[in-house]
C-alpha cells in the first residue's frame, strides 16, 4: 500500500494540521509516513499545502509532482493540483468559493460541502476534520480509531475535551461522501 496525498488551501484553514493528524494516524496504524509542508511568507492568508505519503514500505521522496489523492480547499489550489492527480486518482474538493469546477474525466471527483457542514456543526475550527472524514470515507487509508489516537497525540492535553467534537466532525465528513 502506498498513497501519495496533497492537501492544499489557504493558510489558516487547517491544511497543515489535517496532514499532521493523517500522518500521525498512519504512524499509529504501523505505516511509514512523511509530512512535507510548503509554506513560508505565504502562510498567513496565502496558499499553503502539505504532501503526506503513507506507505507500508520505506518512502523515498517526500517531494512529489503527481498524487494519488488531492484534497483541495480553494480555487488557486484546484487550478494548480487538478492536473497533478494521477489518472485513476481521486480529487476531493469543497465547492465553497469555487467558481471554475474541475473538468477531468479520468479521475474520480468528489464534491464535499464541508464549509456548509461545519457551519451546521457550529464549530468553525472543525472544518479540516470534516474534510478528513470525507477523505477517510472515500479512500480508506487508515481506520478512524488510528485518527483519534493521532489527534490525541497532536492536541495539547488542555484541548483534549475537544476530541469528541473532532470525532463528530470526522463522522459528519464521512456522511457527506455517498
Amino acid at each position: 500500500m502506498k498513497e501519495e496525498i496533497i492537501i492544499a488551501g489557504f493558510g489558516g484553514q487547517g491544511v497543515l494540521s489535517m496532514g499532521k493528524i493523517l500522518a500521525y494516524a498512519g504512524l499509529m496504524d504501523g505505516l511509514e509516513v512523511t509530512w512535507m509542508p510548503s509554506y513560508g511568507p505565504e502562510q498567513r492568508g496565502g496558499t499553503a499545502n502539505v504532501t503526506v505519503v503513507l506507505s507500508d514500505r520505506e518512502i523515498s521522496s517526500p517531494v512529489l509532482n503527481t498524487f494519488d489523492t488531492a484534497v483541495i480547499l480553494n480555487q488557486q489550489s484546484l487550478d494548480k493540483f487538478e492536473p497533478k492527480v494521477k489518472p485513476g486518482g481521486t480529487l476531493i474538493y469543497d465547492p465553497y468559493g469555487i467558481h471554475r469546477l474541475p473538468t477531468r474525466t479520468d479521475i474520480s471527483i468528489i464534491s464535499v460541502n464541508a464549509m456548509e457542514a461545519t457551519l451546521e456543526l457550529k464549530n468553525s475550527k472543525a472544518y479540516n476534520m470534516v474534510l478528513l472524514g470525507a477523505l477517510l470515507k472515500s479512500r480508506g487509508l487508515v481506520p478512524i480509531d488510528a485518527v483519534m489516537k493521532g489527534l490525541k497525540k497532536t492536541l495539547p492535553e488542555r484541548h483534549h475535551h475537544l476530541l469528541p467534537l473532532n470525532h463528530d466532525a470526522i463522522l459528519k465528513g464521512m456522511e457527506l461522501v455517498k
Binding site: 509516513v33 512535507m36 521522496s61 517526500p62 517531494v63 509532482n65 503527481t66
Partner: protein, 364 residues
C-alpha cells in the same frame, strides 16, 4: 527513558536526540528554518532533568564561543543555525578546529547568498567541506537525508568529534529540518560525570590539576616551526579520518548505465527519479555521500566505472560536482542539475533535467 517511536520534524529530532545523548550544553540563536531546535529544547526543559544547559545567546558569535569554552572543558556541546548564522560562526569554528576540540555544529541550510531566503538550499557545501573559516582545517561533515538521520547524527557526530578531537558539522537543509516522519529516538544516556570527563579527556581544562601539569589550550603559536608541527598533527588526524570514516549509500550501482550523485534530502528526491527512470527501462543508479568530508571519492569512481554519464543533482549552482569530477575523472561526462535560491526540485524535474543532459539515454 527507553527507545521511543515518534512523528516529528528533523529539527525537533535533533533537540530530543541531544537530550537523550547526554549533551552538556546547547548554545544557539534563532534563525529560520532551524528555530525548532532551540524551541524544542526550551519546551523540554532538560536543565530540570539531565542538567543540560540550554542557552539562547545574544548572537551567533557568542554562541559558537560558548561552544568553544564548553568543548575546552571536555563537555559535549553543540550549536545550530542556518546559513547566514553559520557564516557568523566561522571564526569560532576555525578556533575550535585549531584547538583540536570536539563539538557539534548543525547547519540547516537556506538559500543564499546574503540573508537570502528562508527556503531550503544546499549552497553551503563549499563552506562546510572546503573551509569556511581560515586556515588548513577540516570539519567532519555529515549530511542527513531523513528525520531519523537527523536524530542519529547527533550521537554519531559527537562520538566522532570526541574520537578525533575535531569539530563535526551536521549539514542538513530546510527540507529535512522541516518535514515530519517517523523517528526512533535513542534510549536515554546519562551525561558524563566530571570524573569520567577527567579520565576520557585528559587534555581538557577542568581546573584543580592535583598533581598533573595544567592543561593549556590555545590556538596562538608565534613560533612558526611549532605552528607547522601543529599543522602536521592536524593533517595526520585528517588522513586518519579519511581512511576510517567515509560513509555513503548506494542504490542500483551494480548495473547502472548512468549514475546520479546527490546528498541530503535531494538524494531521496533523486531516488524517486531513479525509480521512475528504471520503470522506463533506463538503468540509472544513485550514490548518496553521507559524509561530505571525508568525501567518498573511491566509491563514486567505482560506481561510475561503466557509466555513460554522471548527473550531480544539488540545490545550488554546482558545488559537490567539483568533488564528483575529481572522483570520476575526465573520461566520463559529469553534468550538474540544480535549483537555487530556495526552490526545491521534484522527481519529474530531475528526470527531465537528466534527459536534457543525456538525450541518448532515452534511446536505450
Amino acid at each position: 527513558m527507553e527507545e521511543e517511536i515518534r512523528l516529528m520534524k528533523g529539527n525537533e529530532a535533533v533537540a530530543h536526540a541531544a537530550i537523550r545523548y547526554g549533551v552538556d550544553g546547547y548554545f544557539g540563536y534563532p534563525i529560520t528554518p532551524q528555530s525548532e531546535i532551540l524551541e524544542t529544547l526550551e519546551a523540554e526543559r532538560p536543565w530540570e532533568t539531565t542538567g543540560m544547559v540550554v542557552l539562547q545567546a545574544e548572537s551567533e558569535v557568542a554562541a559558537i564561543n560558548m561552544v568553544y569554552g564548553g568543548a575546552s572543558m571536555g563537555k559535549a556541546v553543540m550549536t545550530s543555525s542556518s546559513s547566514p548564522g553559520i557564516s557568523l560562526k566561522q571564526e569560532g569554528i576555525s578556533y575550535i578546529a585549531a584547538g583540536e576540540l570536539p563539538a557539534l555544529i548543525v547547519n540547516c541550510m537556506r538559500g543564499g547568498p546574503g540573508l537570502g531566503t528562508i527556503q531550503p538550499s544546499q549552497s553551503d557545501y563549499f563552506q562546510a567541506t572546503k573551509g569556511g573559516g581560515h586556515g588548513d582545517y577540516h570539519l567532519i561533515v555529515l549530511a542527513p537525508a531523513t528525520v531519523q538521520e537527523m536524530a542519529d547524527f547527533v550521537g554519531l557526530g559527537l562520538d566522532l568529534a570526541f574520537k578525533y578531537r575535531n569539530p563535526v558539522m551536521m549539514l542538513a537543509d530546510g527540507v529535512v529540518g522541516q518535514m515530519m516522519e517517523k523517528v526512533v529516538l535513542p534510549p536515554m544516556r546519562p551525561r558524563r560525570t566530571d570524573e569520567e570527563i577527567a579520565e576520557q579527556c585528559p587534555w581538557a581544562v577542568t581546573g584543580n590539576p592535583e598533581g598533573r601539569k595544567p592543561n593549556v589550550l590555545t590556538t596562538l603559536e608565534l613560533d612558526s616551526a611549532k605552528m607547522e608541527k601543529n599543522n602536521e598533527r592536524f593533517q595526520e588526524t585528517y588522513r586518519l579520518i579519511e581512511a576510517n570514516e567515509v560513509r555513503y549509500k548506494e542504490f542500483y550501482t551494480d548495473d547502472c548505465d548512468y549514475l546520479m550523485v546527490a546528498f541530503g534530502s535531494v538524494a531521496r528526491i533523486c531516488q524517486k527519479a531513479m525509480e521512475d527512470a528504471r520503470e522506463q527501462g533506463v538503468k540509472v543508479g544513485l550514490i548518496r555521500p553521507v559524509t561530505l568530508w571525508p568525501f567518498p571519492y573511491d566509491a563514486i569512481r567505482e560506481a561510475a566505472r561503466n557509466a555513460k554519464g554522471v548527473l550531480c543533482v544539488e540545490l545550488n549552482a554546482g558545488q559537490m560536482i567539483e568533488d564528483v569530477r575529481l572522483a570520476v575523472g575526465l573520461d566520463i561526462p559529469v553534468k550538474h542539475y540544480g535549483r537555487m535560491g530556495g526552490i526545491v526540485l521534484d522527481p519529474q524535474e530531475i528526470l527531465d533535467g537528466f534527459y536534457k543532459e543525456f538525450p541518448e539515454a532515452k534511446k536505450i
